[in-house]
């Protein structure tokens, strides 16, 4: 599993509240990614990081921000959650041959 954990694993929140999801890795990987998974869309990239304090936007970044103050943690923040952000969120790291990516267990977020 490439030493990736996500917390919380499940969260229910209300519209307008801030939410932070955490991705933690133990193997010093440089590249980390946040994806969301919705029916019919596969996984879509939200933000990614290529080092401490180095982040950039992905395909569906509106309404999300990220931070990476240390190698092992990549945080995804919804400043003001909306119902359209109800989804399953996956964190991934990149390692090994080419761009091989490995995924964490996911966080199921429900925004009421």
């Amino acid at each position: 599993d490439a030493g990736i954990t996500q917390s919380p694993r499940h969260k229910v929140t209300e519209t307008g509240t801030p939410v932070t999801l955490r991705c933690h890795q133990t193997e010093n990987h440089r590249y980390m990614y946040w994806y969301r998974q919705d029916p019919g869309h596969g996984l879509r990239l939200i933000h990614y990081s290529y080092g401490v304090k180095d982040t950039d936007k992905g395909e569906v970044s509106d309404g999300y921000s990220v931070s990476r103050s240390k190698t092992e943690d990549f945080l995804l923040t919804l400043e003001s959650a909306t119902s359209s952000q109800t989804s399953v969120y996956f964190c991934a790291i990149r390692q090994g041959a080419g761009d091989t990516q490995y995924f964490g267990p996911g966080t199921r977020l429900t925004v009421l």
Binding site: L43, G98, Q101
Partner: protein
């Protein structure tokens, strides 16, 4: 951006049957991976296969990069093969960012 199309969208198999899943992509790629998402939601790497053929047990994959497609073969399917199979590609100069297909939902019945 690059388009990734998977077919068929759904597949129902009887245990023991063979099947082929297809992934078409619209541009040159540096990397292509196949993943299996099990019924518990876990995403499992199957193959890293930007070109050529690889086999792992009952599963094998072939990518023909010049023709922009990849195939995943499942032989002698088992109920544990059920889940969603995703193809994902990385284009050049893209920091390893994946573009996923929408997936193929596979159900293997006893």
């Amino acid at each position: 951006g690059i388009q990734v199309e998977q077919s068929p969208p759904d597949l129902i198999l009887q245990e023991g049957a063979n099947s082929t899943l297809r992934c078409n992509f619209s541009d040159s790629v540096n990397n292509l991976q196949w993943f299996h998402q099990n019924p518990w939601g876990q995403l499992i790497n199957l193959f890293y296969i930007p070109s050529g053929t690889k086999q792992n047990g009952r599963l094998s994959a072939t990518t023909v990069a010049t023709e922009r497609y990849s195939l995943l073969y499942i032989s002698s399917s088992q109920t544990t093969d059920s889940g969603v199979y995703f193809c994902a590609v990385v284009i050049s100069d893209s920091w390893g960012k994946f573009q996923f297909g929408a997936g193929t939902q596979v159900v293997v019945t006893p």
